[in-house]
């Protein structure tokens, strides 16, 4: 099958960027979407052109590395799946596909389809943990966990942090991501000690990173490859209100993690000597 692509090309964060058209004539329906891009990239490299940069790692939908929009749909047309799990059989011969990176103030484009999602890591760092003594593993059955709580926590923990929810949100809100982390730890007995501080810290970090707010649009949940439900946002809101309206002095965010990440050097313009 033959696929026509229109891909966002941007050399660096400082570069302006624009769409470039490509023609991939030798696609088979058994290829995954990323394998199709590999085929394109091999041709680009052979021709001496820079390949299309896109994130990928596990290519089986569990790592959360991949992700871009295909014709305006985060992770493409397949539901409950990442773009790496999407095969070319879901497209038709002669299809014109436009690939665009996640767009949000908190997700600066590094190159082509790669964005810096360090903001999500800093939300996790601000409260997505439980403080326990490590060193010796506790007895597994020492803390009884109700079945429903375990199920809800497991569902929320399915979030792979790909950022599709932010990409799909008209407000570029990270509420579904933050809500899934707050729910994951908040429904378990182990997460109770820091439950209030956690939700205040994490929502405050999300705001500081430049993510928008939730207006219950629901597109995030629809495109989520892990099928996270909107109720995690309700739980986050409830926990936040309880924390904010009760003993606030204990729930002030401990610190806002600095807006820096190992990948930030891409944003700086290259030194003049290299130009």
């Amino acid at each position: 099958m033959r696929i026509f692509l229109e891909i966002w090309r941007q050399r660096s964060a400082a570069d302006e960027g624009g769409f470039v058209r490509y023609d991939v004539p030798d696609v088979t329906e058994h290829m995954s979407f990323l394998e199709m891009l590999d085929v394109l990239n091999r041709r680009l490299v052979e021709a001496g052109d820079p390949p299309v940069a896109f994130d990928s790692d596990c290519r089986e939908g569990i790592c959360g590395m991949c992700g871009f929009l295909v014709n305006g749909q985060p992770h493409g047309p397949l539901r409950n799946a990442t773009i790496c799990q999407t095969h070319m059989r879901h497209f038709a011969d002669g299809d014109m596909l436009r690939l665009e990176p996640w767009r949000a103030a908190a997700f600066p484009v590094l190159r082509d389809l790669c964005v810096d999602r360090g903001a999500l890591d800093r939300i996790i760092a601000s409260g997505g943990y439980v403080t326990v003594r490590t060193g010796s593993a506790p007895e597994a059955n020492a803390i009884p966990v109700p079945k429903e709580a375990a199920d809800r926590a497991m569902e929320a923990a399915a979030c792979i942090g790909c950022g599709a929810c932010v990409a799909a949100c008209p407000n570029a809100s990270a509420a579904l991501f933050t809500g899934s982390k707050v729910t994951h730890l908040g429904v378990l007995p182990q997460g109770q000690a820091e439950r209030r501080r956690r939700v205040v810290s994490m929502t405050e970090q999300a705001r500081a990173e430049g993510f928008g707010h939730c207006t219950t649009i629901g597109a995030c949940s629809r495109v989520c490859p892990a099928g996270i439900q909107l109720e995690v946002i309700a739980r986050m809101n409830r926990d936040w209100l309880i924390a904010a309206l009760s003993r606030r002095e204990e729930e002030e965010p401990v610190a806002i993690a600095p807006r820096s990440s190992p990948m930030r050097f891409y944003e700086q313009a290259p030194p003049k000597t290299q130009r």
Partner: protein, 231 residues
Amino acid sequence: MAAATKTLAVVPPRASRLAALWRSHVGRKALMAVTGIVLFVFVLVHMLANLQAFQGSALDRYAEQLRVFPVLLWTARGVLLLAAAVHVAAGLDLWVARRKARPVAYRDFDAEGSTAASRTMIWSGLLVLGFVVYHLLDITFGVVNPDFRPGEVLHNVVVSFGRVTAVVFYVAAVIGLGFHLWHGLWSTFQSLGVSNRAFTPGIQKTAAALATLLTVGFAAVPLAVLFGVLG
């Protein structure tokens, strides 16, 4: 003990809880939800009261009864004005924040699985706000009413809706209100954190039903006047 007292003394006075609510996105949405509930209760009562127009002079009597206790009337007006002010300010502020959160727009983008109402809250809200100002000038203050008579509510309504443009604006505004409530009523539960997978479908259906009921109830009076059923 002395050390503890000293430490307490240097702690800056903490901002009020209301300020904390305003500062956070979650809190601001909760304020919008609470003020939205106040405003919803008002429009519901208002719509039911409007239907007294079909009973003739009952509407005028009702208007008189509202003014029996001026303190109550002005308290209610104060609460409504405050709720509207907070709701509008938070809404506009969040709308500005949203534009900052995605400075570069997508080439093509469709918020999948979302309702038209949810994506147009700011516009339906501004339509209703603009209408409320006009509506107060028309029926309460009588400035833009063709033949305003203080205390004769039914007469004022009938002469106002004798004009097709007034009816069109009114019906457009209540359809906007319907859209606003269709999404707003369900989003309220989400913002206050009291929805979950078991209740959400019921909440969404009830919100849609109430929004339709209010739109039809409000539109009934001007349409009845226009088509000669009333007045």
